[in-house]
């Protein structure tokens, strides 16, 4: 029997208070995610239960109980407090998926500070933009990644503490602090910050079409949405061994790689190693993983390596599969059913801004391969007309996916950008502030994605409603790439768009014009690719660069990305009357 039972019955009798029942929560208890995921599990008698099964590259491995989580997160909380970090401060977590990432995340929340996890593959420019925007006060990193921090720290006046948690302490530079929580005295007791529902908890940066990335701010109240969806959609039960393959530098890695499962007291696995199909299958086999939450890009890469490889491993422990990050194509759903003994990946749709799953396929529900599924109980979803923004009632008609505000995990603001936050809603008054917007159930939060709904209520993803590039399940902003491209000595102008890719759905393609004195060549293309990879991230690196004499522009001089994108996707280019003849 699945946790959700009957979807239809849950829809009829839903109340978010059910999440509190699922966690056996009593009114008056402390609402602090750091404590809920560690101290609270110990208090209920599960301190000796395994919380984290970790494997790194090579033969490195470790296991931690919930009591270890409690003590090591206390250790981080105390250490940061001793170094002057206060409630509300932004603390960036910039490291690979090592155990200290998980301990420090909970520790930051326990002291009332805001965790700002960032993808460790970000280059120094991507890192700088995000730290400067957040006014980050401390960064926790490793020897491998501290070099990027050193390059930019002089331009970040708010960044007071650089803490290195792995590597040789003798190699640190002046002003850097070493902290090895596992080899420090155990901190049995820490006075956890008395957070409330609306106390900020996590700041995740996300990319948009224009401007630099924005920080989506979440609060401790998000735990209700994350825990209940982890229970009903991922179907996590007491004896499950769960693997979320996402990196906590992205929202899936925190909502479902930390908060949701640990709030429920589930045992999680983490593999901190590069991707190869055989390594992943071995990890599932060796740890007897039962519930697996992954991404379409990875699933398609596994498909590419063939069915024979699957047969070399004992994957019989698996019982439930789910996917997130981009639409899961029908072929991948069907393939998983064929090779994983009838188990099909359950697609889930949500965003950094939503904080928890919104439209998903549920255990026990008929899966229609290629469909996103149906709205989670308590989520008031619709597809809005592209022009009028009225909900569409006609099956199959494409519109904008939108939600009525008010679910627990909804982001509370874009960090210090109230105008951009307001622009995500339709029906709001001109001067509405974030607190009014997030509680107004008469307006719509518009996701930026397009879909249609079939006659039975299943949602079908169509595509983005903007120029943001979804590559490997991660959103990359074209503006950020273009800004970096024109910093290259050879490039005069640049446009970045997504082009179709069999594995990653989209990859970045750049169109560039060159400055006088530079000639197109394969070597220059490679140089530009590496330039972006190091400055921004491997995700943002163009996988193809097309040299042009000029780029399509409007008469006012704005580069028209949609024209270039349409060509890449073989779509109609639409009205081009506004393009300049130049």
């Amino acid at each position: 029997m699945s946790n959700i039972g009957s979807y239809e019955e849950r829809m009829q009798n839903f109340d978010w208070e059910i999440a509190k029942d699922v966690l056996d929560w009593k009114e008056g208890e402390l609402l602090n995610i750091g404590a809920i995921c560690s101290d609270r599990i110990c208090s209920r008698g599960d301190g000796k239960k395994t919380a984290l099964i970790w494997e790194g590259f090579g033969d490195k491995s470790a296991r931690y109980t919930f009591d270890d989580l409690r003590v090591y997160s206390n250790g981080f909380a105390e250490f940061l407090t001793d170094h002057g970090i206060e409630p509300g401060d932004r603390v960036c977590l910039f490291m690979d998926k090592i155990p200290s990432l998980y301990f420090s995340f909970l520790g930051v929340l326990k002291l009332g500070a805001i965790a700002q996890p960032l993808f460790s593959a970000f280059g120094d420019e991507s890192l700088e933009v995000r730290l400067a925007s957040a006014g980050t006060r401390a960064i926790i990193t490793t020897r491998k990644h501290v070099r990027k921090v050193r390059k930019i720290k002089d331009r970040l006046p708010d960044l007071e503490k650089i803490i290195v948690v792995e590597g040789n302490p003798d190699k640190l530079k002046e002003g850097e602090i070493f902290f090895d929580v596992e080899n420090s005295p155990r901190v049995e007791k820490f006075d956890v910050y008395q957070s409330s529902a609306e106390t900020p908890s996590v700041l995740h940066y996300t990319s948009g079409t224009t401007g630099q990335p924005k920080g989506a701010l979440h609060v401790h109240n998000s735990v209700w949405g994350q825990a209940l969806t982890a229970s009903w959609v991922l179907d996590l039960q007491d004896d499950d061994i769960y693997w979320c393959t996402a990196d906590p530098g992205w929202v899936t890695g925190t909502s479902y790689g930390i908060i949701g499962p640990w709030a429920l007291g589930a045992t999680q696995c983490v593999l901190d190693s590069g991707f190869t199909s055989s390594r992943w299958y071995k990890f599932i086999q060796d740890n007897r993983i039962t519930v697996w939450y992954s991404a379409p890009t990875a699933i398609r890469a596994l498909m590419k390596d063939g069915n024979d490889l699957v047969g070399e491993f004992d994957l019989s422990s698996l019982r439930h599969l789910a996917s997130v990050g981009e639409p899961l194509n029908a072929e991948a759903v069907i393939w998983s059913g064929e090779v994983f003994d009838g188990l099909k990946f359950h697609d889930t749709f949500w965003q950094t801004e939503t904080g928890s799953m919104m439209i998903t396929n549920y255990p026990g529900m008929e899966i229609r391969p290629g469909s996103m599924g149906m709205p989670f109980p308590g989520i008031n979803a619709a597809v809005l007309d592209l022009t009028t923004h009225e909900p569409l009632n006609e099956a199959g008609k494409v519109g904008l996916i939108a939600f009525r505000p008010g679910w627990p995990s909804m982001f509370r603001q874009y960090w210090k950008k109230p105008d951009i936050y307001r622009s995500k809603f339709v029906g709001a008054s001109e001067n509405a502030m974030p607190d009014e917007l997030r509680t107004n159930s008469d307006i719509w939060y518009v996701s930026g994605d397009r879909a249609s709904i079939d006659k039975d209520g299943y949602y079908w993803f169509v595509g983005r409603d903007d120029d943001v590039i979804n590559t490997g399940g991660h959103l990359v902003g074209p503006f950020e790439i273009e800004s970096a491209l024109v910093e290259h000595e050879a490039i005069a102008e640049a446009a970045a768009v997504g082009k179709p890719d069999k594995v990653n759905m989209e990859v970045v393609k750049a169109f560039v014009t060159l400055k006088p004195g530079f000639e197109p060549s394969d070597d220059l293309e490679l140089d530009i690719m590496n330039f972006i990879r190091k400055r921004l991230s491997p995700l943002a690196m163009p996988q193809e660069i097309e040299y042009r004499d000029k780029l399509p522009k409007t008469r006012s001089g704005k580069i028209v990305r949609r024209y270039l994108r349409a060509i890449e996707w073989g779509e109609e280019v639409g009205d081009i009357s506004s393009l300049s003849d130049e």
């Binding site: 491998k144 590496n530 690196m541 996988q543």
Partner: protein, 82 residues
């Protein structure tokens, strides 16, 4: 073959490791599975090899396993050099 290995290794050290990196990389060091080169960055490594040796490596052969060591990369290159 040895010259090719040297060239590929030198490129990897220059492009994917930092100057003060303590990791020793040899012809048999895992590159993809160790995380030195991620799956997205593999594209630029593949492009370097294609440019350098004037070959085209089919996507179905340019797998993470085939790119996991300098030795395995050079075996793949030699196959296509004929």
């Amino acid at each position: 073959m040895d010259k090719m290995k040297e060239t590929v290794l030198e490129y990897i050290v220059d492009e994917y490791l930092d100057e003060d990196d303590e990791d020793e990389v040899s012809y048999d060091s895992p590159l993809i599975s160790s995380g030195i080169v991620d799956s997205f960055s593999m594209v630029s490594l593949k492009r370097f090899i294609e440019n350098k040796y004037s070959i085209k490596l089919p996507d179905e052969e340019a797998t993470p396993e085939a790119f996991d060591t300098v030795n395995s990369i050079c075996r793949l290159v030699n196959k296509h050099l004929g």
